[in-house]
């Protein structure tokens, strides 16, 4: 079934020859293994192999025709009521959120929103939030906790907006505070990286009980371009940086950073919005069902344990 032992750093190349069905099996079996072992022994888990090169995945993740947060909300939820503002400074268009109905129950949903037209791209600031965006997100999550609704977050941002005004209003504090508050939020949180997960700006809404990732999304501590600029002083080496940073869904599942990969249609999510959304909906339902069985206390303790375990180091 799986050629798990074949995966090396050159595994990406071999894998390009694999067919769609083979990969789908791969996803299922990975999920099963993981559920079976409760994610504790990632050493025994079969390796997931990406279908594209790292740089191809970066292009797919950033594809302007990909479904964005509001597309998914409209496709898998009903009765979305958008709520605005951080109650402190302004409404940040780079993050959207509100109430919605999911699979017959009320939920809180929020996420980064990129734009499709030039006008919308500017209004959404290309999905790069100011601190008030993160504060709006936290306000909605606190609302969810207060009224015991689950939270779904969609991650899709190049990063926090790197400008002086954003700095002055406390981008760092806003992100830090979200990390801290999300880690103790007494209601289930499910996050999904749908496109680009850019560093702290992505993590700011990503401290979740379950972290899902679309097959052709990326999640990285620094953009491949930024990494290349710092390490080689040469942005054109971004493709090489993307590969070495291991930012694909396959890599991150194998590293234990994300919990599940949501398959995309061949060619990418933009080829078939409905099918991608249906895959995501199924994953949401499965994960939410599991999380709802836990008391708020256990939920928070498990979330703490989940992040507590992340890291690779050597001890004598």
């Amino acid at each position: 079934m799986l050629k798990e032992n074949m995966l090396t750093s050159s595994g990406v190349m071999m894998n390009r020859e694999l067919d769609m069905a083979g990969t789908a099996t791969r996803i299922d079996s990975v999920t099963e293994t993981k559920a079976g072992s409760k994610g504790k022994s990632k050493k025994n888990r079969p390796e997931f192999i990406d279908k594209h090169t790292a740089w191809e995945i970066v292009q797919l993740a950033r594809n302007p025709y990909r479904p964005f947060t509001l597309d998914y909300i409209n496709l898998i939820m009903t009765d979305f009521v958008e709520l605005h503002g951080d109650r402190g400074f302004r409404d940040d268009g780079a993050i959207v959120g509100g109430f919605a109905n999911f699979n017959g129950e009320p939920v809180v949903v929020l996420g980064h929103q990129r734009g499709k037209t030039t006008e919308e791209k500017l209004r959404r600031n290309f999905g790069m939030s100011y601190p008030e965006g993160y504060r709006k997100a936290l306000r909605l999550m606190k609302l969810a906790e207060k009224f015991q609704k689950p939270v779904f977050t969609f991650i899709d941002t190049p990063g926090a907006f790197p400008g002086l005004e954003a700095e002055g209003r406390g981008s760092a504090e806003a992100i830090a505070n979200n990390l801290k508050e999300m880690s103790r939020l007494k209601t289930p949180i499910i996050s999904v990286i749908i496109g680009e997960g850019g560093s702290g700006g992505a993590l700011a809404i990503g401290v979740a009980d379950r972290i899902l990732m679309l097959e052709n999304a990326i999640y990285s501590v620094i953009s491949p371009e930024g990494c290349a600029a710092i390490l080689w002083n040469d942005e054109s080496k971004a493709a090489e940086a993307a590969k070495r940073l291991k930012i694909s869904a396959g890599n991150l599942l194998n590293m234990g950073i994300v919990d599940e990969i949501v398959p995309e249609p061949e060619g990418g999510a933009h080829i078939d919005y409905e099918r991608t959304a249906a895959n995501l909906k199924r994953a949401f339902i499965n994960n939410l069902t599991e999380l709802k069985e836990l008391s708020p206390y256990l939920l928070v303790e498990q979330r703490y344990e989940k992040f507590r375990r992340i890291g690779e180091y050597l001890e004598e």
Partner: protein, 281 residues
């Protein structure tokens, strides 16, 4: 770990370099260009007696400044990076690590432990900027988490002294996730009603600022320290916005409301001690 012990021995000969002071009896202040007698600088907590410029401190120097003599006990000294990505750029991450270890005599960039500060028992984590720019990776994240959990167990207050360029990119997403890991630990500490004082020294930027460093019950900055998520060079490069001199220094952050106090290093121990008295149970 034999090589590490050898390393430590050779390094003892190198203490002066480790402390970041150039050889020689005199040195020139980076800020006001006055000539300073080195012994004078040492006695002055490495603050320029002429212009109060705060010279960077190694973790060991911070220990000397903060703790009552002989009371500090270090923890988890031998944790070291595992290179989970087998990362190579212009050189191997493993080689970079070895170089930083040789330079600082430490296995990684954060020192944790506990000791007495004017008689108060505290847990501390101190970043050594000399170790790969104080970057936050799996080792520093784990050490901070363990320190916080120990603070909870012992019911001691926590102090973290930050000096960092941000997440350690060579560990990819493992390093980003240390922001969540450490912030979760800080949240837990807060639920146990234990005080956390964050000291932000020059520079504190990137993922460290966007996690535990901004989360103190009290946030204290050193004078003129650069504190930012995105530093001036990156802002200028990415969005071509001009960053005026001092726009991201401690004084601006105080004005903008993100830190409680700017404290001269020579007053740091006294100030912290006073704050700890307020927190006493």
């Amino acid at each position: 770990m034999a090589w590490f012990k050898n390393l430590q021995n050779t390094l003892k000969l190198n203490t002066e370099k480790k402390k970041g002071i150039p050889d020689g009896v005199w040195l020139k202040c980076k800020s006001c260009s006055e000539i300073i007698y080195r012994k004078e600088l040492l006695k002055n907590s490495q603050v320029c007696p002429h212009c109060s410029y705060h010279f960077p401190l190694s973790a060991d120097e911070w220990v000397d400044i903060m703790f009552d003599e002989g009371t500090f006990k270090e923890w988890d000294k031998h944790l070291q990076a595992a290179d989970p990505l087998k990362f190579v750029d212009s050189e191997k991450y493993k080689d970079r690590l070895k170089r930083a270890q040789t330079k600082t005599g430490r296995a990684d960039g954060v020192v944790t432990g506990s000791g007495q500060l004017n008689g108060h028992s505290v847990v501390i984590a101190i970043f050594d900027f000399g170790f790969m720019g104080g970057s936050l990776g799996s080792v520093s994240g784990e050490k901070i988490l363990r320190a916080v959990e120990m603070a909870i167990e012992k019911r001691f207050p926590l102090i973290i002294i930050s000096a960092s360029g941000g997440a350690r990119m060579q560990e990819g997403m493992f390093s980003l996730m240390q922001m969540a890991k450490t912030s979760a630990a800080i949240a837990k500490l807060g639920e146990h009603r234990l005080p956390y004082i964050s000291i932000l020294s020059n520079p504190t930027t990137g993922g460290v600022t966007a996690s535990f460093a901004s989360l103190g019950d009290i946030n204290i900055a050193e004078p003129k320290a650069l504190i930012a998520l995105t530093g001036p060079r990156v802002i200028e490069k990415t969005i071509r916005e001009t960053v005026p001199e001092g726009a991201q220094c401690a004084e601006s952050l105080l004005k903008n409301g993100f830190i409680d106090k700017i404290v001269d290093r020579r007053e740091m121990k006294k100030t912290i001690s006073k704050l700890l008295e307020f927190f006493q149970e």
